[in-house]
């Protein structure tokens, strides 16, 4: 996979995005269906998924690039969930992948139990009962990969949720995060090990970290651009040393996040154990949101605090993404405890093993 291929993918996504400006999401208009159709027609909703499974081919790096470019564009489509989390999990579990044209999301929260409907290991049929909560793109996604519990261990089940009733809830950016009640729903599913279930949660966290990294970079770019254009006291804001200090602090955060998230993605590509790397990436990206969003709004002034300006499309998302797919604090505890697994005297070797 060469960097020029990745560049081409990013250019293609950006071209598409010029025709789809972000808008304020509401319960009535919770996603950008037109953008999704255009992306699907271009094969971009199958990037990184194998062609024999109906995907568009390419590597994880391509999928990460697509997700990053869409995140930077505040695109209201479930591409991160589909390309980086749900579809790879469905394939790894040996389940049949739905068409990449039909939005597929992931549900890891709530309480859903799975009862086996037939005997034997491997993919089978399960009956799901319970409520999936905090479901990204609930009401939008046609298919849901549900992480359920069963008497014999965690189960990943693939549910067709088209037309199924959802309780609407939204994150700070208006992205759907509702819940679905499943009562005796029959679904294809596969038993996972506890480690595989943990890896799935970690991949979800890493997907949010990828989105955060791209969005924070874009917020920095917008803010530097604004500081160069906005004139006060007869000169651009960016000429004031106080503003330069703030922008430099933002750049430090953005650059640190990118370095860690890139390294975590590369670790996944090498097939290394993911949990602590993903935890670190998620925690670091979340911590950067505090600084970057605060200073971006400070530099933009009052206009950035309105829905008339584009800034909120990304800052509101960042404020939510940092606590989705596992809160920043929860992942910080996972990381802290994980690093102590071999005892405190082995902290340093543990740190150098993570990435």
């Amino acid at each position: 996979m060469s960097s020029s291929d990745v560049d081409l993918v990013v250019e293609t996504v950006r071209d598409v995005l010029t025709k789809f400006e972000p808008f304020v999401l509401t319960a009535e208009r919770p996603w950008d269906a037109g953008l999704w159709s255009t992306l699907a027609e271009a094969g971009l909703t199958g990037v990184g998924l194998p062609e024999q499974a109906g995907g568009s081919g390419g590597e994880l790096a391509d999928a990460v690039a697509v997700v990053g470019a869409l995140a930077a564009g505040a695109a209201a489509v479930p591409v991160a969930e589909q390309l980086l989390v749900a579809a790879p999990a469905v394939l790894a579990a040996g389940l049949d992948l739905p068409s990449p044209d039909e939005p597929l999301s992931i549900a890891v929260d709530g309480a859903v139990t799975a009862e086996p409907r037939d005997d034997g290991d491997g993919p089978g049929s399960w009956t799901l009962t319970g409520t999936a909560t905090d479901v990204a793109w609930a009401g939008v996604a046609q298919h849901l990969a549900v992480l359920a519990t069963s008497p014999v261990g965690p189960v990943l089940a693939l549910v067709d949720v088209t037309g199924r009733e959802t309780t609407h809830a939204a994150n700070l950016a208006g992205e759907p995060r509702g819940s679905l009640v499943l009562q005796g729903v029959t679904a294809a599913g596969a038993l996972l090990s506890d480690a595989q279930a943990e890896q799935l949660r970690a991949r979800y966290a890493l997907a949010r970290a990828v989105q955060l990294s791209a969005a924070l970079q874009q917020v920095l770019t917008w803010t530097v651009q604004y500081a160069g254009e906005r004139q006060q006291f007869g000169r651009p804001l960016g000429r004031f040393q106080a503003i330069q200090m703030e922008l430099a602090e933002m750049a430090g955060e953005v650059t640190a996040v990118a370095a860690l998230v890139d390294a975590a993605v590369q670790a996944v590509e090498r097939g290394e154990s993911l949990v602590l790397a993903a935890a670190a990436a998620k925690v670091r990206a979340g911590a950067a949101v505090e600084v970057v969003a605060r200073l971006a709004h400070q530099v933009h002034g009052a206009i950035g605090f309105t829905q008339e300006h584009r800034l909120h499309h990304l800052t509101r998302r960042c404020w939510s993404w940092r606590d989705e797919a596992g809160t920043e604090t929860a992942w910080a505890r996972v990381l802290g405890a994980g690093l102590l697994a071999d005892g405190p005297d082995a902290l340093w070797p543990a740190l150098t093993r993570v990435l």
Binding site: A248, L260, G336, L340, L351
Partner: protein, 387 residues
């Protein structure tokens, strides 16, 4: 995306680096077990131990990237990174040779005469020759271009130096100072002109070294005063008048290493013992948050090592890493304090209390030395195209 001058390519994986890392780790474990040193914070400036430096030299862990003809080992910056990082994490006493190995040696390699390289570099690589940085002056801190130490040629073609340098860490243990001097009158139109670097033997007559104590009473700072010091003409380093350019290059080495985020790592290690014992969720979360920041800094610093291996001089990314890294070093103290009930004291019966005290009393230096964070952010702002 607008800030490319700040961004470096991801560091390549290095099996050789992991190999030497394991060797250093085993060596440090044996040294600790033998009681040859005890762990402290900030030991790359405060932990002077020539015997320890010689041991590192014997094992080939100094001058690692330099040519073999000068006593070096022709290894990569990635391997050197692994070695320095292990030494810092252990809080080992590496201050004697640190500056010489980090920046003075590379500076000599780049700008020294053949005779200087042959004479001095093998001694640095052996852990026997130490350097001090002669940049700041009593009236020139961040504004380095305003230095007033003067060097003038005498009739024999030698340099006569008058002036004073401060914050010269471990000058009292060092053999040489690479000293930034004014060799032409200040030109208000070009403040960076007329500066040169001299290689100064600190045993020369006319040089006095006065100690300056830091907050914990420790002595690594000094004032070095030059009174009509006669320095042989061939001790000019690089080109006359090119001092500013040379110093800028030197600072890329000075600002980019793991010592810019690991000075307080021994405090984190001590805190980890508490967190493992208490299993308090807030402490575990704090350990996780600090670790996530540290891991990001490692990636940034590794990228710089990779860039050095490619022959680049990443001065702007180095400024950024140092800003983020030194901010982290100081934040470690505050974050730990919030989740433990341990007063900081050098006399504490609790090792965590002692580590907090050491880290706190050294803390003001983290974000000052090697360029204040305000100066660094100015450099980053330039990278963003704002100046």
């Amino acid at each position: 995306m607008g800030s490319n001058s700040l961004t470096l390519a991801p560091a390549p994986r290095s099996a050789a680096a992991e190999e030497v890392r394991a060797e250093v780790r085993a060596f440090l474990a044996a040294e600790l077990a033998a009681g040859s040193f005890s762990t402290h914070v900030d030991t790359w400036l405060s932990g002077v131990d020539p015997a320890f430096s010689r041991k590192l030299g014997e094992r080939g862990w100094l001058g690692m990237t330099w040519p073999k003809q000068y006593g070096g080992h022709e290894r990569t910056a990635m391997e050197r990174y692994a070695v320095t990082e292990e030494l810092l994490a252990a809080g080992a006493p590496v201050a004697a040779h640190w500056i010489a190995d980090r920046q003075s040696g590379p500076n000599l390699l780049r700008y020294g005469t053949e005779a200087q390289r042959q004479e001095i570099l093998p001694l640095i690589a052996a852990g026997e020759c130490y350097f001090v940085i002669g940049m700041s002056e009593p009236d020139s801190g961040s504004d380095l271009a305003s230095i007033r130490t003067r060097a003038t040629r005498n009739g024999d073609g030698d340099w006569v130096v008058n002036g004073a340098k401060v914050w010269t860490s471990n000058a009292h243990h060092s053999h040489y100072a690479i000293t930034l001097v004014r060799t032409a009158p200040a030109d208000p139109a070009n403040r960076h002109a007329g500066l040169s670097q001299l290689l100064v033997d600190l045993s020369l007559p006319g040089i006095t070294v006065n100690p300056i104590r830091i907050l914990d009473g420790g002595h690594h700072f000094n004032e070095v005063v030059f009174t009509d010091v006669v320095i042989p003409g061939d001790m000019l380093l690089g080109e006359e008048g090119a001092g500013w350019h040379q110093v800028t290059a030197e600072l890329a080495f000075e600002r980019s290493g793991p010592e810019r985020f690991l000075s307080t790592y021994p405090l984190i290690a001590e805190f980890a013992r508490r967190a493992a014992e208490d299993r308090d969720p807030a402490q575990l979360a704090t350990l996780g948050r600090l670790s996530a920041r540290l891991l990001a800094l490692r990636q940034l610093s590794l990228r710089i090592a990779g860039a050095l291996d490619r022959g680049e001089l990443p001065d702007i990314p180095a400024a950024l890493v140092k800003d983020v890294g030194t901010t982290f070093e100081a934040d470690v103290i505050d974050e730990v304090r919030r989740v433990v009930d341990v007063p900081a004291s050098l006399d504490s019966p609790d090792p965590l209390g002692r580590a907090l005290a050491e880290a706190q009393l050294h803390a003001p230096g983290y974000t000052l030395r090697g360029g204040t964070n305000e100066i660094l952010r100015g450099i980053v702002a330039r990278g963003l195209g704002l100046r």
